[in-house]
Chain length 424, copies 2
Amino acid sequence: MSENTISRRRAIALAGAGVAGVAGAAAVGGALVNGASAGEAPDPAQGSVAFNGEHQAGIVTPAQDRLHFVAFDVITKDRDRLIGMLKDWTAAAARMTAGRDAGEVGAVSGVPEAPPDDTGEALGLPPSGLTVTVGFGPTLFRDTTGRDRFGLAARRPAALADLPHFPGDVLDAAISGGDLCVQACANDPQVAVHAIRNLARIGMGVVSVRWSQLGFGRTSSTSHTQTTPRNLFGFKDGTANLKLEETDLLRDHLWVRPGDGPDWMTGGAYLVTRKIRMIVETWDRTSLAEQEMIVGRTKGSGAPLGGSDEFDEPNLDAVGADGQPLIALTSHVRLAHPTVNGGARLLRRGYNFVDGSDGLGRLNAGLFFMAYQRDPRKQYVPIQRNLARRDDMNEYLKAVSLGLFACPPGVTGPDDFWGRALFA
Amino acid sequence: MSENTISRRRAIALAGAGVAGVAGAAAVGGALVNGASAGEAPDPAQGSVAFNGEHQAGIVTPAQDRLHFVAFDVITKDRDRLIGMLKDWTAAAARMTAGRDAGEVGAVSGVPEAPPDDTGEALGLPPSGLTVTVGFGPTLFRDTTGRDRFGLAARRPAALADLPHFPGDVLDAAISGGDLCVQACANDPQVAVHAIRNLARIGMGVVSVRWSQLGFGRTSSTSHTQTTPRNLFGFKDGTANLKLEETDLLRDHLWVRPGDGPDWMTGGAYLVTRKIRMIVETWDRTSLAEQEMIVGRTKGSGAPLGGSDEFDEPNLDAVGADGQPLIALTSHVRLAHPTVNGGARLLRRGYNFVDGSDGLGRLNAGLFFMAYQRDPRKQYVPIQRNLARRDDMNEYLKAVSLGLFACPPGVTGPDDFWGRALFA
């Protein structure tokens, strides 16, 4: 157990039943984590990720296995309350990232007569690679009636332009958009849920949960140290994703640079979220050959058709014995490829989801697509336009939710907080 | 990597792009699992659980960390098709439990012109402790119109009596009941989802998904080797649960015995599922002292009030300085305790859930309660009646879904299948 974990346990024990509480908490020393029993060697997936930095954690951080994403509406009109909450969120997120409780339960308000400053469900759990990443939606700058609620309208980046409608999208407004978003990623879902739930608790009266999404089985690797996972079509997904080791590409395609727009976004990135229902029952009745033609890759290895290894560059010019392109003109791999999108690339951090069933005898399952980038107008929009028009995979997909958020740079010191430069 | 995992990978490779597919699949050897990278020591949470046995796996099996539960409606009128599907399910579940694909992709129908016999999203993943457990609902024996659809009405156990209505329940019929259920538990959600999804695929035309539930962070330990996890109220849950090591108690309280009812259920158990929405936002505004009084335990250690250790027996007679019981008369621990329920006990296997948000600014979160037992009329019903009437916790709970299923004994040999004795 790390010192941080002990802190998380100790805090509640102090607020609990005195001596009895402390003794009891100590007995939890060999804490339960991911089914591992006490005394096993520490698992790197249980460690902590640095919170402070030039960029927010949770973007190029090697993608953790679980996601809890939430979009909030701001329900206060009071700019100072909003700023105060962002300060409180920053402090709580820094603590939780380190494996501690969300607030000083024992020291500040931790008397039995007060509600606890931490909800407790992560007591005894290690940091589990938690990252918490915040973004600001277009409606924070000017709401849907055009009102400048917080004096931020002039600071809205041009790159945070409303996204166009794409053919085939059947978006549900109730689970789209949002004034603020928080992405919590961790290797234990209980830790991710705990983080979101405590930020919602801290934000009571200032923000209200607009929509929320859980995900598992990340669909993209963001580091060369990770193998490529599979989406619910059974294919490797995100092979050509930007990786944290590719610093030159990240500079060109991911991080907002000085001069790109307002200074407060320098070092940040724009996030597009897109909840894509996959009609898996129909897909599962499709032949393997057709599945591979639609994707443009081999199902087993993930190699591009005509290639032999997953990481082979797709040969878009190769033709088969029948004179047809090996990688079909309407295949997903071709249409998403940088060479047919003016070189545009994305850093993807998507997750699989299953949200129960749909009332029609089918699983409500799919991909919660998340992509970080320097400018959606030059990256997500042209790529998605290309896919929406021609991708054969669209027959099996239905986009139901869309979000766009400006994720500010990282927090760099004890007085810094999420959005400090925006509100300065 | 185990031989089983290689089998799972090899099967699709054979059905894929020939040599290229095999080479690519081999490159996945150091498979991605729970964020662990290639070359690490094997994790026991990734191993396999025996499928065959006197009892079904997934009941006393040390509770895995993730759940995918599904209830099906039978949509065929053809008894033989139903039996055929149960045979196919049994074979597929045995394979998947061992870390293999759901069907012989390469050998049987694995030509590119046929849909694959496995959906592929678990390729390269280890068995991950998968168990698949099946149950039969009351409506399989006689549907809601009283019709005996499959000639099973006379074989319905008396213990599979329709559950009474409890005060405060606001059940949604669309996510309650079901003719069949399948519980898939694993330490990787992608593996649990893969199992359910492939059984649904195999059952196409015979069954239709009625409702489905994902869970994480199990709320009960079923073995002395496991520490007690926490529910979303932040409290340890299931401390007094039946454990697999308590064979005498399991004989009395869990497994159906000869003479209890129809022979086909001997060695089985009855499952009650209850999806309980927890109003966590209200709970989080409740003082620590009140939370502990409602639960009857200390939040930090999980010790019963007045005790010092989680596993101390609650002293229901102890009174404080004010002359009031230390464990309140309306506390959850007291009302659920065997001594106030005629000795009735349950084997619980619940899971936490978060299903997005509720459209009212709150997380849709709670407990998917699952309890196995020898006779619900003598166990779940009296305990729940007691809780429904008096439990202070009810103010923060809302039951939205209920299910009851007769889970037959285990499969014991190659010709055996789920429900063989029922349909004999």
